[in-house]
Amino acid sequence: MLTDGDLKGLRVALTGGTSGLGLALVRLLTARGARVAFVARSAPAVEQIARETGAYGIVGDVGRKEDIYPVALQVTANLGGLDALINNASSLGPTPLALLADTECEELEQALRVNVLGPFRLTKALLGALAASVRSGRGAAVINVSSDAAVNPYAGWGAYGASKAALRHLTDIWAAEAKADGICFLSLDPGDMDTPLHALAIPASDPKTLKRPREAAAEIVRALLAHVPGATRRTEGP
């Protein structure tokens, strides 16, 4: 059951925070009292969402290697540490969607940069902060937003599907490696949602048949709480 302020003290960073699922997560997490830092590319959109929600807005592109450490610096400095990272920002690859044989190499590279390398780099840069959270007894989790396209080979979804499949496998391996460090890694598939990304991929789909992003956001927060020991007793302090 959602209650105001029940996540007080939880420190969450997420990417792609100005639209779709990411925006719904920023709104939900801040409404429940979490301290949130979000990353997105557009400075005006970042400013607007930061003003609206009280979250820390960080302008950056996870697909750009040079942006990763400056983003990580702002995350940890603004939040004073980190309990959870949600790698949500995603690139579809070519839009409109294209058959693999019609996909430019650069389009595949772009999808891999945003959907695989970006989460890998940002997680690596923030792993020290997450491990520090575990050592202080707060627990830590990394949630990587996945898709059924990571599992099913849908025609036309080559760049996106291949990159999400790589992210899913990366998450599973990291989960095994970081278990002893106490850092939980999860892949979560939010389902087909009524988001700008989905509209780009399938312009003809009827929004009424799609999941609301805030429902998916609530599911992700529930999963987060189930996997970060101590997340709900944070009001007692570290």
Binding site: I58, I68, A77, G81, L127, G128, A129
Partner: protein, 341 residues
């Protein structure tokens, strides 16, 4: 990765100097097989703030470099004690750089940031205040500032070069570089072997000002924070008569500053003042993993707390003869304190 040894699997070396005067040359990867079950390794998990800003002294129009040297209040990026250099860059050794002469209320344009001189503390040393709110100052530092650079590292260092694997809260102004030896693999091996690992967070400040009178005052007072769990782990280690291994001189300063009468440490925030040297009794730390430093610099002088002159001479001679690389990104030395059983 541009710094030797970072990013590629390079063969860093480790000199182990035991309390009986014995010396062993090891590959640094052997760290994972050192220490005994029950021992506790304590490291500094501070990440490094980019603390060098190039810009313009608005009154004179001169190009300047500002190096953030110490926090006014740790974690608050609005006020710092800072060094000011005129023109040039890090490729000129710090001691050969010209001091910039600033006056109170002077404005400095530092990329997207504007700073105002609040006080003149000494030649080249000032108190600065950044204009704007905390989040915007952090964004400006993240985008415009670079880590403090070193004349002996010609390539530009980026943040990823100066954050250790365990880097968490960005409050160090130069990297706690002994921590570069700590890979996740090493930590996993220690865990499997029953060797404890704990951290504190110590805001390491600048290592060099370029001014002999100021350098004599280094290190400046440095704030630190020791968590309850780390203090408890140290108490347990001492109770079991096992060893506390400090990773880096910042950890020695913090732990010895926070030492209580029983060989434990007080949890909480503190400030490390003054230098550790030959007259400092070590009440907590039994061994130190550190970088390789030259006799004469403050990091090497700290080793006098661990070993006598003859032992240190022998260590220095071996480091030199065996071609150990010094400074922040070089090889490592593990030294046990004299009298350790």
């Amino acid at each position: 990765m541009i710094v030797a040894g970072r990013g590629k699997r390079w063969s860093a070396k480790l000199l182990v100097a035991d309390s009986a005067g014995g010396l062993r040359n090891l590959p640094r990867v052997a760290l994972e097989s050192l220490f005994e079950p029950g021992d506790l390794v304590v490291a500094n998990d501070a990440a490094t703030l980019p603390a060098s800003l190039m810009g313009i002294h608005c009154v004179s129009g001169d190009a300047i470099e500002i190096r953030l040297a110490a926090w006014e209040r740790v974690g608050d990026p609005t006020r710092f004690t800072a060094l000011a250099f005129r023109g040039g860059d890090h490729r000129t050794p710090t001691e050969e750089r010209m001091a910039a002469s600033l006056a109170r209320d002077d404005r400095l344009a530092l990329g997207p940031l504007v700073a105002v001189v609040e006080h003149c503390l000494a030649s080249r040393l000032y108190k600065l205040r950044f204009l704007g709110d905390r989040t915007n100052i952090l964004a400006g530092l993240a985008r415009h500032a670079r880590p403090i650079q070193y004349a002996h590292v010609p390539e530009l260092l980026a943040l990823c070069d100066v954050w250790t694997k365990i880097a968490a809260d960005p409050i160090a102004l130069e990297p706690p570089s002994a921590g570069f030896a700590l890979s996740w693999r090493v930590q996993a091996s220690w865990r499997e072997r029953g060797i404890g690992f704990a951290t504190l967070t110590h805001a390491a400040g600048v290592s060099s000002t370029g001014d002999p009178a100021l350098d004599a005052r280094l290190p400046f007072d440095e704030p630190f924070c020791i968590g309850k769990r780390t203090a408890a782990a140290i108490a347990q280690t001492k109770a079991c008569q096992r060893r506390v291994v400090a990773v880096g001189t910042t950890v020695v300063r913090a732990l010895e500053s926070a030492a209580d009468e029983n060989g434990g440490v007080r949890a909480g925030e503190g400030v490390a003042r003054g230098r550790i040297g030959r007259k400092t009794p070590l009440r907590v730390v039994d061994a130190l993993l550190t970088g390789v430093h030259q006799p004469g610099d403050s990091h090497f002088e700290l080793l006098h707390a661990f070993a006598d002159d003859a032992a240190l001479q022998s260590i220095a001679a071996t480091l030199c003869a065996s071609g150990y690389r010094s400074h922040e990104f070089g090889d490592s030395l593990l030294i046990e304190r004299r009298g350790l059983g």
